[in-house]
């Protein structure tokens, strides 16, 4: 326990000191995007990793958060500055409120149908953003820029995003250790059985869904404010969820550290590739190849694989036991050959 706490403290200290070391705005910008994705990945995992449901529509919360800030700033004639950050909790609230009906509809379905319905809802929101008056359609909304000195311009964005990230990680950690988290994990393994053991599955799933939406909405607002403008195609980008999912799978689905690691590795890479191949086409190919490599070579992610390896070394066993896979097949075969009803 102690080394873990010490490690966490060191990590926080390092993250806090980063802008002092890296003063180049190009790097701090990348750091801010990385923090945004770390938050999004952590929150996505708080729902997906523990419940086993894979949503590909969390960009709805990201985009809604972004538009909440943009529209509020526009309608209330706000000027750029620290005051704008007060809109971020509002963005989180809007995302959480949207997650209620979204979750109520989507969580009636399971597995593939759930994935597809989240995609469908994502497209509904994208079309709405293009066509509604309030979003100003495809011409987007400009957001007032703060008049801060160029040298430290990025710092407030950095630290407040870091704050949101800490909130998201703390939430994920608490959920993982709570009874509520255990219920989610039981749902992941066998939802119907969990229900038969008194778990109110509908409520548990919906709560987790809402919890995971709120920080995503907050960093969506942060993203919009930092970029200074917002367009439907960026606010509701279908690739957002895929990127986030990739980060989570890379690091380890269902772990607290995995999504953080995934985002730290992949988001700077993504930024770097975008800068290098500014046309964006080659970037797609490279990204897709990395994606395939991660999923095929490390299906369980870096964190669980490393943990098993360490445990195996410590206990001196040749290799950690593979849990599922074969037992699945055994049960399946038993279902058809084994004892009849």
């Amino acid at each position: 326990m102690l080394p873990r706490a010490a490690g966490l403290g060191l990590l926080l200290l390092g993250l806090g000191a980063l802008p002092l070391v890296l003063s180049n705005p190009t790097y701090t910008s990348i750091a801010i995007f990385t923090l945004i994705y770390m938050t999004a990945a952590t929150s996505w995992n708080t729902f997906a990793g523990y419940s086993g449901y894979i949503p590909l529509g969390h960009v709805v919360f990201f985009g809604s958060g972004a538009y909440t800030l943009a529209v509020a700033a526009q309608d209330w004639h706000l000027v750029g500055g620290y005051g704008m950050f007060l809109l971020i909790p509002l963005a989180g609230l809007v995302a959480g409120l949207l997650a209620l009906p979204f979750g109520l509809v989507a969580l009636r379905t399971r597995r593939h149908t759930f994935v597809v319905i989240t995609i469908a809802i994502m497209f509904i929101f994208q079309l709405l953003a293009f066509n509604l008056g309030v979003t100003n359609g495809s011409s987007g909304i400009q957001i007032p820029t703060p008049l801060w000195p160029a040298a430290t311009f990025n710092d407030p964005f950095y630290y407040i995003t870091l704050g949101i990230l800490i909130l998201a990680v703390a939430t994920s950690w608490f959920v993982r250790r709570s009874r509520f988290g255990l219920q989610l994990l039981a749902i992941r393994d066998d939802e119907d059985r969990a229900r038969g053991l008194g778990v109110r599955t509908g409520r548990v799933k919906l709560t987790a869904f809402v919890i995971s939406a709120i920080p995503v909405g907050m960093v969506g607002a942060m993203y919009a404010y930092f970029i200074g403008q917002i367009f439907p195609q960026f606010a509701f980008d279908p690739l957002f969820d895929v990127s986030v999912a990739l980060m989570v799978f890379f690091g380890g689905l269902g772990t607290v550290a995995g999504p953080l690691l995934g985002a730290v590795v992949l988001e700077p890479l993504q930024q770097y590739l975008t800068l290098q191949f500014s046309i964006g086409d080659l970037y797609l190919i490279i990204y897709g190849v990395v994606f395939l490599a991660v999923i095929l070579l490390m299906p369980r992610g870096v964190v669980p694989s490393t943990r098993d390896w360490l445990r195996a070394r410590r206990t001196g066993r040749p290799d950690a036991p593979e849990v599922e896979g074969d037992t699945d097949r055994a049960a399946e075969v038993a279902a058809h050959t084994g004892s009849p009803t």
Binding site: F174, V175, R177, S178, R179, F180, G181, L182, Q183, L185, A186, R188, D189, D190, D192, R193, A194, R195, G196, L197, G198, V199, R200, T201, R203, V204, T207, P321, V323, E324, T327, D328, A330, A331, A334, A335, G338, S339, P340, T341
Partner: protein
């Protein structure tokens, strides 16, 4: 004799297949009742109906005189009716201890469950006791997916027991496991019964059923055809007819798992 669990004229059809037709059955408190019958006679479907996994339009299920027909599985469980599945359903990626704790939360509010730690010391102690009871305490920290088939059956029994159900519906507790373990399971069930728990047991192993149960009910084509002591049932010609004549309806309607 008061019936703890009453199944009253329940019918259930899948498409054209009548899985249950006006099936009625009483389970008296404190007994171990066996439920036997050829494949496809509706035993598992009956379990599913009682525990809320299947809905019916005709008939009623009562528990302590109170209608529980078409209640959701979590509600039925909360009333004190636990069950196991024919093909054991454990939480493969959770540890045995975590498996045990899933069912401990049924009596607590949903908001409270979010701020609480995963488990209290008392619950862990109780979970360990029950794991001890089924002989799995040594594996408490391992993932349930590593257990053998027979061990899974025992774990499933244990994690249902932690919620202290009054009635247990066991679907083939002896199916597909080795004979020494069968004897062990028999002993566990007897012990639990002495503590006052009521059992309804579906099983194909006749030796097991006849040795364990005080009353045996025979189902055929979705109906109860005979009910009585093991001795009476064994002597009843209709039972033999059901088993020999039942060879043409092999398929169990829409299965349990």
């Amino acid at each position: 004799m008061s019936a703890l669990l009453e199944i009253d004229g329940v019918s259930k059809a899948y498409g054209g297949v009548q899985a249950l037709s006006a099936c009625s059955l009483d389970v008296a408190e404190g007994t171990i009742t066996g439920l036997i019958g050829p494949n496809g006679s509706g035993k598992t479907t009956l379990f599913n109906v009682v525990t809320g996994y299947e809905h019916v339009n005709v008939g009623a299920v009562r528990y302590r005189g109170r209608a529980i027909t078409n209640h959701a599985p979590d509600q039925v469980f909360k009333l004190g009716i636990g069950r196991t599945f024919q093909l054991t359903r454990i939480f493969a990626r959770l540890t045995l201890m975590e498996n045990m704790l899933v069912a401990t939360q049924h009596h607590e509010g949903w908001a409270r469950s979010m701020v609480r730690r995963g488990s209290s010391a008392g619950e862990r102690r109780r979970a360990l006791e029950l794991l001890e009871f089924v002989g799995l305490a040594g594996h408490a920290g391992e993932a349930a997916g590593t257990l053998s088939y027979g061990q899974r059956k025992l774990l499933e029994l244990a994690y249902v027991l932690i919620a202290d159900p009054e009635v247990l519906l066991l679907d083939e507790p002896a199916g597909g496991i080795n004979p020494s373990l069968i004897h062990y399971i028999t002993e566990r069930i007897r012990e639990l019964n002495r503590q006052g728990r009521t059992f309804l047991v579906v099983e194909h192993n006749m030796e097991f059923v006849m040795g364990l149960c005080e009353r045996v009910t025979v189902m055929h084509q979705g109906c109860v055809i005979v009910s009585g002591t093991p001795h009476e049932v064994r002597a009843d010609p209709r039972v033999l007819d059901a088993y020999l004549g039942g060879a043409d309806d092999e398929e169990e309607g829409a299965g349990a798992a």
